[in-house]
């Protein structure tokens, strides 16, 4: 069973994923990347007709058909090799206090198969498909809130094998953890500090400033903005924020989901077009399930992190990133997609 272990210096937790256990010789040489060639529709467990190769679905939006048969448009399944296990209770076992703290790897790990089409991606989705995918995010996110073992849920997309995607079939994932991760607490506390000082949400202030400033803006709709953040860690990094204050992704309305789907697919199409379909991670940041007290100061958002540079020794040691593309330049390139802001072209 998976085990959560705490680093005694930084209080960061690590998942020792015994379900995915590997001997040193099991690690594929990273250079070959032959995974993708072998990953074809006929042997893809996420493709329609192969529903029996996955655990039973926990949610599906279908045009037709029975549970666990073809006819679905979006399908959510438990991960067959979960990083955290649904069956565990949360319980700590500490061999020697403070230096070695562990707890059972209780949690949830689900896969959202975003489309029945093996070769689809966010840059290809129609508006309806994109909307259904995000609707599944919201529905699973809301549902898991009822499991009171869970403190936080991380929803994310890994696009391309260099960004950690082990399968080509388009999918996102949800991993829910029994604690609020240290990095999430850091962000909550940073925003809370600003709130105490200014009596306003840092993200709301930032959204207004980026719209006014324009130079880093990528796209603007009634309820959302997309921009390249001032301190971008990655070339072409893009954040999408709701323009009105909303701490918790669970509060998103159906019409907002549709609008977010529209902006997300256009922005990702623009990224694919501008930088040659680079690998990226899209990462949802939202109020934790156990996030009481941060409702005024926190603000959910989506971070798109293109993997055009490599995390190396300097970044591991300092946490500082070296970004060769200023965000003002990145946004100028991204805005060249005429779908974005037809009225705001340079």
């Amino acid at each position: 069973m998976p085990e959560l272990r705490r680093d005694s210096i930084t209080n960061t937790w690590v998942i020792i994923a015994t379900e995915r256990s590997k001997r040193p010789s099991d690690f594929a040489p990273p250079k070959e990347a032959n995974g993708e060639a072998k990953d074809r529709p006929d042997n893809c467990p996420f493709c329609p007709g192969h529903e029996q190769q996955t655990p039973p679905e926990v949610l599906a939006y279908r045009e037709q058909g029975e549970r666990d048969t073809p006819g679905w448009l979006v399908r959510v399944i438990p991960n067959k090799f979960p990083a955290l296990s649904t069956e565990e209770d949360v319980e700590s076992h500490t061999p020697a206090p403070s230096l070695y703290t562990a707890q059972t790897g209780a949690g949830v790990h689900e896969v959202i198969v975003e489309s029945p089409e093996h070769h689809d991606s966010w840059a290809d989705y129609g508006l309806d498909q994109a909307t259904l995918a995000l609707q599944a995010w919201a529905e699973r996110y809301r549902d898991l809130r009822n499991d009171n073992r869970l403190a936080y849920a991380q929803i994310f997309v890994n696009h391309g094998s260099a960004a950690g995607a082990s399968r080509a079939h388009p999918h996102s994932q949800l991993i829910a953890t029994p604690m609020i991760p240290a990095k999430v607490m850091e962000e909550l506390d940073g925003a809370a500090g600003y709130y105490r000082e200014h009596k306003s949400c840092l993200y709301c202030t930032l959204a207004a400033a980026e719209i006014r400033e324009e130079s880093r803006l990528v796209s603007l709709s009634d309820d959302f903005l997309a921009f390249c953040p001032y301190a971008s860690r990655f070339p072409m990094e893009i954040w999408i924020l709701p323009r009105q204050h909303q701490a918790d992704f669970a509060e998103i309305t159906l019409s907002q989901i549709q609008e977010l789907a529209g902006i997300l697919r256009k922005v990702l199409r623009s990224l694919a077009f501008t930088a040659g379909d680079p690998p990226y991670n899209a990462v949802l940041h939202t109020l934790p399930y156990q996030g009481e007290g941060y409702e005024q100061s926190y603000h959910w958002h989506l971070e798109i992190l293109p993997r055009l540079t490599t995390m190396a020794g300097f970044e591991w040691g300092t946490g500082m990133f070296i970004n060769p593309t200023p965000p003002e330049e990145a946004s100028r390139y991204l805005r060249k997609n005429p779908e974005l802001n037809p009225n705001q072209q340079e």
Copy 2:
């Protein structure tokens, strides 16, 4: 000129490296990795005979020859495309306070060419070569302390292109920053918290516990131990610590440098042997230049981070790592190298 920008939420600094500026089309498709094929001794600026292709050396250990000519064993040069610039003064310019904080990218970026041999690596170095390489680390580290613009120096090795090495010729790097990076402060504060509570250094306690416990130990010498940390983020992650308290890498003695060189090359040979010469980052963690007050609680060490897994959306969002290889298993594999602890084989 490079610019340092502060993320207003997390207080993390980013280097916008204009010296390395790239348009989106300049990013090599990550899959091709054809950089290595082109990187041969005849066109390698780090190979002997090509000294004029680099900026003039700031340090060299030589058997013979003049400055900036062949005959050196280790050669240190300023990076031709520095992430931070030596010529800048430290000065902040804040377009609009608190949301957008910037300062000039003042700092130092040097390359330590660790061997004249293009195809060498830590797994191949003889003891003398390894000792000279570490001696150059210590000498440059001590020397830059005199530049009072600098708050911290990060020394690191990137081995393999997947770990961020842009050149195959064996080298390490030193980047010195005008502030203590947030991630370094986090570690300093974590250790200081333990010190306040226990009146002892967390790392000294950990070293003694790992030697006693044995299950994660990789190698042990008079002054150093190498072990796989309890909360390893990466498969085969290895830390090397001095056994006696030493906060600052600058305090290392010549005989300790030689002993560290011995343990480091054996451990890295063992890693190469066990996991098929994987890419890795080796990252020195030490007391900052401006680290007053942390001398009792902090303890320098070297972290070796094999890049056998991929940083993906979950890790970016939460800072939690998923590691499929328990450290107890990793250390068992690594100890199979008979050079390590000849008297302690299982």
